[in-house]
Symmetry: C2
Amino acid sequence: MSKKNKTTIKDIANVLNISAAAVSKALHNDSRISEKTKKAVKQVAKNLNYQPNHLASALRRGKSNLVGVIVPKTNSNFFSSVIESMETVLNKAGYNIIITQSNESFEKECKNIDTLLFTQVDGIIASMANETVDLSHYEKIKSKGIPLILFDRGENDLNVDYVGINDYHSSHLIVEHLIAKGCKRIAHIGGYRRTRIFNNRIRGYIDAIKKNNLPIDDNLIIESDLTLNDGRKKMAKMLNFENRPDAVYVAGDYAALGALQVLNENNIDVPNEIRLVGFGNEPFTSLISPTISSVNQHSNDIGRLTAETFLERVSNPEIKQTLNKIILDAELIVRDSSK
Amino acid sequence: MSKKNKTTIKDIANVLNISAAAVSKALHNDSRISEKTKKAVKQVAKNLNYQPNHLASALRRGKSNLVGVIVPKTNSNFFSSVIESMETVLNKAGYNIIITQSNESFEKECKNIDTLLFTQVDGIIASMANETVDLSHYEKIKSKGIPLILFDRGENDLNVDYVGINDYHSSHLIVEHLIAKGCKRIAHIGGYRRTRIFNNRIRGYIDAIKKNNLPIDDNLIIESDLTLNDGRKKMAKMLNFENRPDAVYVAGDYAALGALQVLNENNIDVPNEIRLVGFGNEPFTSLISPTISSVNQHSNDIGRLTAETFLERVSNPEIKQTLNKIILDAELIVRDSSK
DNA sequence: TACCTTTGCTTAATCGTTTAAACAAAGATA
DNA sequence: TATCTTTGTTTAAACGATTAAGCAAAGGTA
């Protein structure tokens, strides 16, 4: 904030010889202010290059019109697209967003929440870090009485609005696609079971396998942190099995890429020898060779719906309306790695 | 902001039967408040779960402790790392950041600036959109008297602090590396000349070629928007030359990837037939086959230095100190595509 | 004893905007 | 003419924290 150029409503009032209150009302199109005054006020405001002091109005109204957003990492196509469409909706409604990154760290997530609450945001939209198990910091948000909306990485126990995709069903799509291609031993490199979305993918995988009368082999279900390197490790491990899988469904694209690298290095023909499917539809999946089949998570819809859910909450804060749980169906994009 | 849990310094004052002013001072460790009172105040603050109202203090002090950040897209490894290290430094100094994306659009950039000024940020740190030519919106920031720091995508005409890498010199590194490998016809798929950093890379390329007594062939210098698709197009075009290049230096990794795809599809041996170097060191450059040589832009240093430059500016706002232009030397990372 | 300093607090104004309440003037109603 | 409504404005009190100025009590100095 600067010392110069600090035109206030008082300055406008002085020019027109009316009260500051009248100016404020004129600028907000109050019905009790005459058209003549409104026009004059707006003209002077323009001339003096008036910019309302957001802090003052936020303080007075008890609303900052700021929404805090917490994502594990902006450096991912999914999250950056979600944020983009979220921003569009919220900006239109007069809200601005503050983006913070947790870097998948529980500690950083706590700090982010403190920061956002300190900044007096009107609400928080978050996707949880992998590390997060303890939820007390999220309870803190709830206890402040401001809306909390989760997307993608949510948690049932928290009992708050949630927008995400149907992970359970996505696993069915993938497994059935692979079976249709003739695969009989489908492995799953999944995320940690304690993270709900990954647990859902694992459950979906198991149920889909059973539903299609294939045997469940526990060796073929491996938990991973889904980084590229861990994808490599887990894939390498599987190649040592005496009974190799003929397909691998990896719950994250980076880990899928790691797996693909190992397969390529071992001269294994993808898709003919082993088929591969990733998750998340990161841009690189269509850039490498072979291109990797993956699941599109509809980031734009998720962003838009999350924002709309937030707006709904702030517009009727008292109403203890039923929880919004919006679950979208994801879309399997078949590419060369499983054709 | 909520109606409940709104503990204020007045509440603390009431409990202890002292004035609100004393509470404020105690919380700020004012030397004129006794240790006994300070301890008591802090204890009560903790008990009542007191959180200072940032808006009120910002209004009063004329400082929001918010820094606005504008980047073309958070969805890039470079920008997301810059932001991360910037945030670390700024948080330590008591500042929080508001991240906005311009999506390379001039119009969106203008809107972002309006939003940030409206939010009363104490300063703006920006990297310009590709589209931006007109600079009046940046002048607006300067005229408000708040610090403006540019990084990576800057502009000399604006006359503000800048942190970036030595693009001119980076081109020398690349060209000389390729010449050392025996290349004689080195092409350059560059960005638009009107963007300073790309212009510098082109100038560096030309001067390095000349310096090494190789001929300049204008056909080998091609402007591009550096998207993956355009990289493909420009590479395909070059393959039709009767006199093909034996190396291609692409000013962006995504376009370099596009070029590589075309080379692979045409069964051209990279690096033996044509060597390839990209720019930006995006993670995928080391993920694909062959891995792509690229330039590391020291995102962490850039973020840190940008933040430090900002802090320097806000701490001595009056001093019309000389402009900070920090230019780091980039680092060429040689990978398979040019080995 | 008389005066000066230091310590530890209080009072009151302030940041710029919003808004409930008051009020004057004009117009409508009976 | 007397009373009620409507219109268009002003007054003044907030929002919560900060801070210059003031002041009383305690301690120090000569």
